[in-house]
Symmetry: C2
């Protein structure tokens, strides 16, 4: 990929991605721009400017989703494409941001084709930056697309507070990022994302055609002990919530080892200790548990084993443990016709491709339930994700933009995908 062989379209993508990577940039080439932070606000203003310069009509809705619309056929529904610009703390520059920039560039290419004389298609195109896909500051994740698809009430989302008590509404207002743009009517949705796994890289394949999600079960867990003095309290009298929670963390890890053939992925990632004072035996730990597998039967078995681990941890630490399910989904298919359309477009573009499942949730996971949806992956080096070291080579990124452009062209032209 040398400068002299690069097209104007390719240069536009690389410049835009370089520009967006500067917002919240970290010394180790990652980004740190959680939803609703100043870095997020600056980046959103930059995106609106980029889109407006290219003739998009820009707007922001009541939960902070940013839209850029090209309306060739007044009143016709839109083919919507996008992802999210927010990141995890010390996250990678590709996760989400790649999809937004790829979508913006692909839509801009279509707009230039029409401006250059090509017949306008019957359906319009729109780009979206979904608010707060990551959910690290304001849970749950996929907040903007959940509100857009009616899965989460707007008022509930606006009332969510971060660890310092700042609400989503306050954070958006502080940035001037709570708007009143109406939701565009959506004919279809398309998203491209980095894989966050190793399948494509290990096989040397450029494009993943996402056929379904893994199944997942998520829980909030509270471990209740009794606070006491770390020095003077007799050991036998202690009801240490941290000891109980540590038993559970290790039990959750052991589930994954026991079901390695499932496969089963398990984690505890949020973990808050009260009162968190160096001389007070912890009275409470609040933690999450996340179980994921392509096979729902493996999740059923893991959940039964988790029940037994809870009983054992309660006895070992003299604590009470409450486990509340917060999210559960079985293996969810994307529309087969969308996979077929993407396969044809990839073949036409001469890009190597294979079907693949997504383990992570994406905004497309929400959108597929309300509109025909195409979900595409490009490779992730070593599968590194939610880490500053995340990397996808420029060539793979550009291949994804090229494919997304062709997918959007087919969808705007009226291809039926279910």
């Amino acid at each position: 990929m040398t400068g002299e062989r690069m097209t104007t379209d390719e240069r536009e993508y690389l410049d835009a991605f370089e520009a967006v990577s500067r917002f919240g940039a970290t010394p180790r080439r990652g980004v740190d721009r959680e939803a609703g932070t100043p870095a997020d606000g600056e980046m959103r203003r930059w995106l609106r400017g980029w889109l407006a310069e290219r003739g998009f009509r820009v707007g922001t809705d009541a939960i902070g989703n940013v839209f850029g619309l090209i309306e060739w056929t007044p009143g016709a529904p839109f083919v919507l494409t996008g992802s999210h610009l927010d990141s995890q703390p010390l996250g990678g520059r590709y996760d989400g941001a790649y999809g937004v920039i790829a979508s913006a560039c692909a839509a801009a290419r279509l707009a230039r084709r029409v401006a250059a004389g090509q017949a306008p298609p019957p359906y319009n195109v729109a780009v979206v930056d979904w608010f707060n896909e990551e959910g690290s500051r304001f849970p749950p994740s996929m907040m903007g697309s959940s509100v857009f698809t009616g899965k989460l009430p707007l008022e509930a989302a606006l009332a969510v507070t971060d660890a310092r008590g700042i609400s989503v509404a306050d954070a958006l207002d502080a940035l001037g990022e709570r708007g009143d743009a109406p939701a565009p009517a959506v004919r279809a949705y398309a998203e491209v994302h980095v894989e966050q796994g190793r399948v494509l890289e290990d096989e040397g394949t450029t494009i993943g055609l996402v056929t379904s999600t893994w199944a997942a079960r998520k829980f909030d867990v509270t471990v209740d002990g009794e606070q006491s003095h770390t020095g003077s309290t007799v050991m036998a009298d202690r009801c240490d919530a941290l000891v109980g929670a540590a038993h559970l963390v290790l039990a959750v890890r052991e589930l994954a080892q026991r079901h390695a053939d499932g496969p089963l992925h398990t984690s505890v990632a949020r973990f808050d200790v009260e009162p968190n004072s160096p001389v007070v035996v912890p009275r409470r730990v609040r933690m999450n548990i996340d179980l994921r597998s392509p096979d729902p039967a493996v999740l059923d078995a893991a959940e039964r084993e988790l029940d037994a681990a809870v009983v054992a941890a309660q006895a070992a630490a003299q604590v009470e443990i409450h486990r509340v399910p917060t999210h559960a989904w079985d293996r969810q298919p994307y529309q087969a016709a969308g996979v077929g359309l993407a396969r044809e477009a990839a073949a036409a573009a001469g890009l190597s491709h294979r079907e693949i499942m997504t383990i992570a949730g994406h905004d497309s996971t929400n959108m597929k339930d309300v509109a025909p949806t195409v979900m595409l992956f490009v490779p992730s080096v070593d599968g590194v994700a939610h880490n500053e070291g995340e990397l996808t080579p420029d060539g793979d990124c550009l291949a994804g933009v090229e494919l997304l452009t062709e997918v959007l062209a087919r969808l705007c032209a009226g291809a039926e995908i279910g």
Copy 2:
């Protein structure tokens, strides 16, 4: 203890203790008033008023220690007595506060004796409320007495910040509680505290004569992993700091079980996970480890076993663990002459008594290194400490005030204690 049989002195103590227990009171009869909070500020103003009404000259020093002085003999050094009014989050009403109120009442009784015609003693008396003994909001614990005794530089203490980034200096300034009172010259120090253990209660003894501290070793530990995606990252690739830390929490608990005859008390009580996002494998855990025993040889053995546990946890979770010693002390004696003086005073007052060690640190642990010190315990029901359910019966509290009054009288009169 019925109203009609109560003396004026007893009534004064009970009223004062009832009054102080209202600051930061919780529904379950505990208190929640960490150092430098508004509740702490109100309580300190109340204490200064109480002392001033009784003829004490009140002042606050540069780290927020509150003093009340009675100067019978101009220029003579003071017998200082006190404890701390701050509490742990959801702590008990007796821990520290009992000692301050007992000291104030005991000193006030001596002042009234002189006012009523008794010859003034050669040494003066002063009451102190040490700032931030608990250290839960602003570590380390025993901050005010550490600065007073020259063990912690004033500027370092003022610069300590809480979890929200507020410094000690800012917290004190916001309350108007940073003063410039000079340190009184100290001839001797006396403190009474609830036992926070079961020894006195189990034996039916009223007074503990503290002879020494347990030995202790404290550490700050950092567990470094690598952040990644909780969903998509292959389990074998994860370097999960929380899994490593959980191994270590359980290993620390096992140390106590292995050395139960020591005895050995162990804990992990402060535990912070980064980035603490539900979908990011934790990259770092910061935690403390606290080991205490009356036998330093047991601590030596435990520390060697802890090294082995660190190696095992690193391998099990693919993490790096760094353990830094922060505090270490061997069994530290209180001056034998002080124990003897207290024993004589207890016998004269007809109070049952026994020698005892303290497991917890106290402001007297600092003071004994710069002045002859007497440390007294009264019983704790069920040994409950750092908990809203903490309780010492009024009769035991009043016995402690009576004994402290006699100890102060002997110290002010010139009794030699080392």
